[in-house]
Symmetry: C2
DNA sequence: AATATATTTAGAAAATTATCTAATAATGAA
DNA sequence: TTCATTATTAGATAATTTTCTAAATATATT
């Protein structure tokens, strides 16, 4: 759950697409996997990395696990980017 | 020079630290390398990745090559982050 | 022209990350 | 309890990235 974890998580195009999918609403792991030409365990791994970075939350609902986007972590990334644009000069 | 290149470039802590160093002013490749416990070729590689992503510019000055920060690329990253925070409803 | 300095390029080794198949866990329904 | 469904974990392989040493390039100086 560090800034490094967040940047690392955002570095992969599959994971960025997952976040983009979740923008429109929560989805189960299976629904997310449907959007990719990749096995479910691979998607599960990506979801775990996103979860570790605090970019998504998960909640079991019966047989399924529902994932939702958490954009609060973006604040730290934005802060880092903005700080870099202001010289200490 | 794609958004993917930018995210990939930002995913490494050494490269983020290089950007942070350049925030205070331009530096030669050698001066940058001094800040790290790593060989010059390794730093040179990181600088090349940052350059490829459009995050830094380089300019030869005599024997040295001076690197400077380019934050204009950040706009694209920011846009991506902000877009993600606004649902398509 | 020869030498020194600053940096990069080339190529290999090490480390990390992404992906797959097979097996396991958790829930729900018959 | 047994079977089906959803999803994850484990472990192996493949791919990518990082880092190193050695060699090459570019400029400046003597």
């Amino acid at each position: 759950m560090s800034l490094n974890d967040t940047f690392k998580a955002l570095a992969d195009p599959t994971r960025r697409k997952i976040l983009d999918l979740l923008k429109d609403g929560d989805l189960t792991a299976g629904q997310i996997a449907e959007h990719f030409d990749m096995t479910k365990p691979s998607i599960s791994n990506h979801l775990n990395i996103l979860k570790h970075a605090g970019l998504v939350w998960d909640e079991r609902k019966g047989q399924t696990i529902v994932y939702s986007l958490n954009t609060t972590v973006f604040q730290d990334v934005m802060k880092w980017l903005i700080d870099l644009q202001q010289s200490k000069g």
